[in-house]
Subunit: 219 residues, 2 copies
DNA sequence: CGTGATAACTTGACGAACAATCTGCGTGAT
DNA sequence: ATCACGCAGATTGTTCGTCAAGTTATCACG
């Protein structure tokens, strides 16, 4: 069996960097991301920048219409609802299936512990990352590449959305941790129905707070 | 509200044509799809061909490693299982949710009827298309753009797989139609559990026949 | 107050070029 | 005969320059 090496082309690295900058709100929503500006910022050819931008468009992290600059999409409430809905469809079934196997991946345990650590700190970003990582690890532990891919697409858009809203006001780390714990316990005990519904509850809470926060301020 | 117009850039049209050729096995699995050959076939620049190829790679319809030509992936049994598994996760939950609303979209009814029409004919392709369309319509009727997108990705890979296998031997149109009918009835009657399990059964049958056919011949 | 023309900006697509890399094949040594 | 080596061909990665086409905003004009 060949041992795989990880190499990265300039295009790959560019797309990755761009994706991270979008997800961390380093590139803010609404401002145009022109091919020329990206090419200039990274000192790459316009074609290369174009390819990277198109890749992100394909992932839903940028949006663009013909002959106009790409922008980070601003998600309105209906899109947020769609995001949570789609995520709920996938995740709740995943938790049910995991419960049927009574299996919790070590990665999920790790992420769960990491969340507690992050929650102790003052920064918001690590908490969000740990939260996301927890759910990603659970879905990933089912071992389905396609499912993980679909989930990753949705999760990334959600990260985008969480980055846009100043999420520091709306997350209660203690509550999130306890909801995660509930999900894990249901999975461990083999209670599929409860695992699924706990997942949905968790999402519903997050969605509710997020929507509430989105409609309130004029920011 | 603006009325949207549909225009297509060369790149879009190229990607679409290429996708169709891949899905219809016009471009056969295993044979290299070089940028130069695509550029030459369609009389477009290599960059344009490259962009289209990269898009299909992103959709999982082509695979490629650095500095090597793209090829239509040959799906082995483990990949087929993954495909059906991921599809089952999404579709079964979708049918449950539709049953909760007791709602069957007209498009699904249309597709169901179209399946019967196609089944009467001798060609296999229309039957496969109608089958796919039936499931697509059901998922789409939930109205979630993200979910539809995830589902479409998986469905397309599955079309690829069905095109590769000479599916004429393994599908019993009558049986498929009756399984579809079972799903619809469960949804209409509001029986969520039965709708979900009928969906899973349907997929399990298809998967079983497909795997059986894949392991048998030496082709 | 619209209407239309103009200019600036941006993307769409092309063509050519060179580097880096993979592949296969022939050569030569063992 | 076989294996390692190296070389040539094919293919992608990336860049540059150029032109066409489309979008947006401005501004003069009727």
């Amino acid at each position: 069996m060949p041992i795989p090496l990880v190499t990265q082309s300039v295009g790959d690295a560019l797309a990755e960097s761009l994706r991270e900058r979008v997800l961390t709100e380093d590139i803010k929503a609404g401002v145009p991301v022109t091919e020329a500006s990206v090419a200039n910022d990274y000192q790459v050819a316009r074609q290369t920048a174009k390819a990277a931008i198109e890749r992100l468009v394909g992932e839903g992290l940028l949006e663009r219409t013909a002959h106009r600059s790409a922008r980070v999409p601003v998600l309105d409430t209906s899109q947020v609802k769609d995001l949570y809905f789609a995520r709920g469809v996938i995740e709740s079934r995943c938790y049910e299936l995991l419960a049927a196997e009574r299996r919790v991946a070590p990665a999920a345990e790790t992420a769960h512990a990491a969340f507690a650590t992050a929650a102790a700190g003052m920064d918001v970003a690590p908490i969000v990352d740990a939260d996301i990582e927890f759910h990603r690890a659970l879905v990933l532990s089912l071992g389905s590449a396609r499912l993980a891919r679909s989930h990753a697409l949705i999760i990334n858009e959600m990260r985008l959305c969480l980055a846009q809203v100043q999420s520091r006001h709306l997350l209660d780390a203690t509550e999130i941790a306890s909801e995660h714990e509930t999900i894990l316990r249901a999975i461990r005990s083999g209670d599929a129905a409860r695992a699924g519904s706990a997942g949905l509850d968790h999402l519903a809470h997050a969605e509710e707070k997020l929507l509430e926060h989105m409609s309130a301020p004029r920011t």
